[in-house]
Amino acid sequence: MKGAVDIAWWMLASGYLLMFIPLAIFRYYRSGLEKATVWAVIRMTVQLLLVGLYLEYIFKWDSPLINFTWVFVMTIVASYTVIKRTGLRLRMFFVPVLLSTLASIVLIDYYFLGFVIGLKNIFTARYFIPITGMLLGNSLKNVIIALDSFFRRIDDEQITYRWELANGATRSEALLPFMRFALKKAFNPLIATTAIMGLISLPGMMTGQILGGSDPMVAVKYQIMILVVIFSSTSLNVWLTIIFSERVAFDGFDNLRREIFSGHR
């Protein structure tokens, strides 16, 4: 089998014509989304082209130190994005979110790349960078939903939280219903998409591998594993993020600090 047909640069440019469909719809309904859409597509293009350039060199050098540094930078950007999107205070949450993200990808990467795939060097650029990128990208949305629903719900239902504390709960016991709520919010959509995988959607990684010339069954095996790995790393990341964040989010009396929300003065 040979690799995917290359797309000529000018043909790539013609592909952008498809963006006129959403832009026309947004414009017709005066949704105000046009500018943000154009900006998002420009950012996506520039970022991916830069990544393409970087990856060419990173794959050529294939140095564990550079590869790990690259993944570390990706983790910093992911942690920053999570906190910004949840409206929590960056200064308070950056370290807990960064640590939990790093811990979850290190553990899961080590098991998946070192044991399941059986790589001698798990930092091999061809595997380490794209797999970790996929883990980060896919867990991002769930971590945002979990963290946001957890802390917002405690704030909205402060009476409930206080009722538990004042009736003998430890902080962990009082937070249990909120943890359950956040897990349901974050994982119900992931459970649903995992359950219909292959029926109404062909996942991106598998499609990419088939286009790249892989045997479909090899692509399917990788896809199955990657979905399991994403599920597992996302749950670990969500759990650790909430556990680590608890340490900064409550005062010595176990009350939720109002200043964790960036809008609070």
């Binding site: 009476i159 409930t160 538990e164 219903p177 010595g252």
Partner: protein, 210 residues
């Protein structure tokens, strides 16, 4: 014994309490009264340490309220807030039994007979336990929380408007039962005249300021 000594509280540059001092004896039934917004609920929330940035001293059963003692103090209390929320609990059963799942309360988990007796006293059906929290009325939720608090067998009950969502007959039955409990200190923020009448002491917030 609960003591407030020169307790002051500011919130967003607004003075809520200024040098508040009073004491409540063991077993005493106290009605906290005052206009809406006078700070009745805030005062109740000070005792379990929910508003720690006050000045002055609060002592519960010999323990000074601070970060070290707050858990020991909370273990002496049962607290029933105004029943507005609790939607994180899917069913009434999970709401009612949640306090009995805490390690400190595990031995107090009531059997079905005790629950049924207390529910009957508060004119509640145990069928409610299988309903969703969103389906039941404010008055039902209030009585369910009160029943749960009583089963915790704590020496101090803190109640925020315990009868506000109840009709007159049930109000009186609930007040008679709770205010008739010997050896239990009850501090209730209330607008209910019958409750005030049956209490040992009425504290009007505006008269407590130094």
């Amino acid at each position: 014994m609960i003591e407030f000594e020169n307790v002051s509280l500011n919130w967003d540059d607004r003075i809520i309490f200024r040098d508040l001092s009073f004491s409540v004896k063991p077993g005493e039934k106290v009605a906290l009264v005052g206009e809406s917004g006078s700070g009745k609920s805030t005062l109740l929330n000070l005792i379990p340490g929910f508003i720690p940035h006050f000045r002055g001293k609060i002592v519960v059963d010999g323990l000074i309220l601070n970060a070290t003692n707050v858990h020991a103090i909370r273990q002496k209390l049962a607290y029933v807030p105004q029943a507005l929320q609790f939607t994180v609990f899917p069913t009434v059963k999970s709401l009612f039994f949640t306090p009995f799942s805490f390690v400190y309360n595990r031995k107090l988990k009531p059997d079905r007979k005790v629950v049924r007796m207390l529910f009957e006293r508060f004119e509640l059906s145990t069928d409610l336990l299988n309903r969703s929290v969103k389906e039941i009325s404010g008055g039902q939720k209030q009585r369910i929380l009160l029943a749960g608090a009583l089963l915790l067998k704590r020496p101090v009950l803190l109640l925020d408007e315990p009868t506000s969502a109840l009709n007159k007959e049930i109000k009186q039955a609930v007040a008679d039962y709770i205010l008739g409990l010997k050896d239990v200190t009850v501090i209730a923020a209330t607008h209910d005249e019958y409750w005030m009448k049956k209490s040992d002491k009425i504290l009007e917030i505006k008269n407590l300021h130094g």
